[in-house]
Amino acid sequence: MEALYLLIPLSIGVVFIAIWIFFRASDGGQFDDLVGPAMRILQDDDRVQGSDLSDTTSKDDEKKH
């Protein structure tokens, strides 16, 4: 049971790290569209005629935020 004296404080640290990660992800626009990615993954050919769509858009997103 002595392990708990270490693990419980540790878990608090983990929660605060999780909160920090969440805020970073939220700032980066990860949660802006929660519906679209699930739809897009169903399509096989993500790239059309040399124009690298997913790359340009994600870079674009990073710039904005």
């Binding site: 049971m1 708990l4 004296y5 419980i8 404080p9 878990s11 608090i12 929660v15 605060f16 999780a18 909160i19 969440f22 805020f23 939220s26 949660f31 802006d32 569209d33 929660l34 519906v35 679209g36 699930a38 739809m39 897009r40 169903l42 399509q43 059309v48 005629q49 124009s51 769509l53 340009t56 858009t57 674009d60 997103d61």
Partner: protein
Amino acid sequence: MNAVATSCFHCGLPVPAGSSWSVNVADVSRPMCCPGCEAVAQTIVDNGLSNYYLTRDGFSATADREALVPAELRLYDTPEVLGQFAEQSGDDGELSEATFSVDGIRCAACVWLIERQLVRVHGVQAVNLNVATERLHVRWQNENCKPSDILKAVREVGYVAYPFDAVRHGEQLRRAGKTLFRQLFIAGLSMMQVMMYAVPVYMATDGTMDADMETLMRWASLFLTLPAVSYSALPFFKGAWSNLKSRALGMDVPVALGIAAAFAGSTVATFTGKGDVYFDSVTMFIFLLLCSRYLELVARRKAASALEKLQHALPASASRMPGFPSDRTTEVVPAAQLCEGDMVLVKPGEAIAADCVIVEGSTAIDLSLLTGESNPQRKLVGEALPGGAINATQAIVVRITKLARESALSTLVKLIERAGQAKPQLSQWADKVAAWFVGALLLFAVVVFGVWQWHDPSRAWPIAIAVLVVSCPCALSLATPSALAAATDRLVRQGVLVVQPHVLETLHRTTHVIFDKTGTLTLGKPALRNIATFGTVPGTWCLHAAAALEATSAHPLAQAIIDAARHPRAGSGSAAATEIVYAAGQGIEGIIEGVRYRLGSAAFVGEIALVPVPEAEDAGLTPVYFGTAGAWLARFDLADMLRPDAREVVAHFQQNGKKVILLSGDQDGVTQRVARELGIVSAHGEYLPDQKLDFVQDLQAAGAVVAMVGDGINDAAVLRAADVSFAMGGGAALAQTHADTVLLSSRLALIAEADQVAAKTMSVIRQNLGWATLYNAIAIPAAALGLLNPWLSGIGMSLSSAIVVINALRLRRIPRANRTLPNAAPHAASSIAA
């Protein structure tokens, strides 16, 4: 052609018998219901995107041919308008970026189709579609591509897009939503973690957990509750503070007080090591309350964006008359392009684009949106008009005195605010009751504290906190708003936009439902009902001959005859007419195969037929006669078509014990006939707008609660007077601005749907309030008597709120039977019923 299949491959509507529209998709000929769908499907196949049909999991929206590419789209290319929604980027400003709103995204295949289609447009560099917000972000080269090309490309595959100005509208709401989402997430995380330390303490039997361990768990819970209280609960503390500043006892006060008291009490208990801790209750309470707030915000944002779509389907434009007064031709220009001194024609029902002075004509101006003045104001030549006002009666010519920008904008902003801000009466009532409840409760807690202080001082403080925590008026405050938010959200998804918040509760109490006829119960345009022939000439030949005569006419009756002749049921046949002469207001004359024919009114055709009209006319139908020298050939009976779902809607209200009344400005005969067909007992024709208004007010004076369903300019006053009003989405803009509810598609059945949702919402609210009352009646006395230990009161509080929220969420679900496409307008059925 596939003769067995009966539904359109593209949109799923039934294919009219005998039609021949089809498209080859994956080497199989697929039937199409209308030329619009055919054009869209052909574009999709031609662009090599037929994969769309393999992966979609539902039918597409019906494509309206006229809506495919309106000429007004080019207005977006002018620098003035472009500057309003697009941003220049790149090194030399050779790139533009803009955000567009897209309608009708239903499945993964839609996303794929739109993105693929746009990447093909020459000059488009990057495309990104956000499905959750229905926003499309595009970057393009100015040289090779114009906004109208992008909008056209989207429309060609059957979706409607328009520029979205993020800075001007949704930005604030979006940011609020993002903050609330973060607060919700933190509260949820915190709640789950705190629960992890709370449960072992509850579960442990006496003596199995040593005091050190329990203290450690308490301290851990305290740290984990901190983010929830200091960050997630901010909206409640802020709300409570502003409540107190304005000396009102709102719902946020007890919520904030409950959180603060429970947290402070628990913190003290943690430091001293004596008493109970309520960290789990605090976090769960915050989380559940934020859940309902988030739901409300999402519903409001959806309503605002739907309303905005309605207003912004096309750019604000004006009809400029460059050659006035010598030349009266008009040209459509963007409102932003109007300069001082421009002459502009303003038709009835149109909004005035900018501040101006009347040059010709007199009219009544509706200022209600700008000033709240309800009666239209009479305006004569030389009087000034403010931009954003609505011309109510006559066409006028005006001279612009100021640039357009501000006025048009203020109208829009006002409308959108109206959609979200006002609180429904029921909610206000619940807030008021809750305020009293809170006052009484605080008093009660003080009394309980005093009594225990005298009886057993060591238990006084924990019990007072228990009373506050267990009774937290959470369930009571959540009961109404969560149900209303869930119902509004569901209705928006179905295409019913609730502008005024009182709609759901009033609709439920409605005793009388009044329908307008033209454009509401009917489609508002004539269609051929019947052909009566008087000679040996077959009716189909007469129809084709008549269509040939009318071929170049734009008259609505002519259009109905042409449409009927084109319909596959009319069979094939062709005729060419020469030497066509129009007689204004009477008819048309021309020569077909060497014989002179006339088409038009009985008197006009009678001039050459020279014998009396053979058959009596049926009242309620508009007859068009067809004849030649010395003989009557046929009579075409035209009538306004009923909407296909009109009967169902009328029956729905009648079954629910509401009185259905038909009020129309049209001839009494026509009105009575429509009423007979729909089974409406009470019908009144030839009612002027004033009489309609009097009629509604008389009913209201007699104690009736009136719902009005209308469309058109002359309904505006009645729509406002009625207790609850609906406007058809296709109707004149004026009617919409006065209506409490706007139907975004032309499906009349949505009104019945809204009525059902209203009834369900009310019963959910009743259940919620009943449950909250019952719970409080049991829990508060128990807590006051000291019977509740902390975990019982915590769980009781959380459970009571959770039940309320979950019960409300049931309203969001759309039953499978009603899950029809909101955009599947019944225009396919409008073509003919000859």
